[in-house]
Symmetry: C2
Subunit: 145 residues, 2 copies
């Protein structure tokens, strides 16, 4: 769709994708504040989860959960946050955000006002490690999708 930033660009470095969705790495300040933060973007311009058919929904969530599992194994956050909002960009994308008790916003959502400056002391996973971990988990969940 014209004027949609997720139709006209990938939205970040692509670490995994198939014909239906892609996993992109969130960069810049948000990526530094939450090392490993990814978004899972549906390739087609669709606004709501219930606009997808049940198979598409299931696959999309399997990818979201594969990213969650990859982040838990690679960066061991204190909590994972998942969100599909899309008020500004109504093109389906899931936020998969690793959270730590000492991060800039904890325990608030990352969209609240920060409590303090970002602590960027954690090692961010490489794109290659993320990609491999996502593919391995997803292959287990879907039998090789």
């Amino acid at each position: 769709m014209q004027n949609c930033p997720l139709c006209s660009s990938s939205g970040g470095d692509v670490v995994w994708e198939d014909s239906r969705c892609r996993v992109v790495r969130v960069g810049q300040a948000e990526g530094e504040a939450f090392p490993g933060y990814c978004r899972v973007v549906w390739q087609a311009h669709v606004a709501e989860m219930t606009d997808l058919d049940p198979n598409g929904r299931r696959h999309f969530m399997n990818v979201v959960f594969a990213v969650e599992a990859a982040l838990r194994s690679l960066v061991a956050p204190d909590k994972i946050n998942l969100a599909e909002l899309g008020n500004q960009v109504p093109h389906l994308h899931w936020h998969v955000i690793p959270r730590w008790r000492d991060d800039s916003h904890f325990p608030a959502a990352i969209w609240a006002s920060p409590k303090k400056s970002a602590v960027a002391t954690r090692h961010a996973p490489t794109n290659v490690a993320l990609s491999a971990a996502i593919a391995a988990t997803l292959s287990e969940a879907e039998g090789g999708a």
Copy 2:
């Protein structure tokens, strides 16, 4: 678990439930600002989606999507927001939030600072209507679960 508010209470009026999860209506100021706002709470004390087995995850998401479908049919919001955060209460619960372009926070997340006071001009769905719409959609998705 002791001291967990979602173990010691329902967390709101229960509009639908089974042995694995319950749908509760969010009341007070948040319920007025976002008429129809529900949370879907896993009955057991579990922190992360990837701590559930694949069947549990799938059922939980089917219930979340049934609530989304019910809200779309009953209150026709401009957007649905879905989120599983749990930084304050690490007992799995999904927020299913109907959003309108003229609501107090749009287009920001509801956890950001409000842009203006809540506009409570919309008709909130009754618990009975919500319950029936959730059950009907879920029955279609799961063949009568």
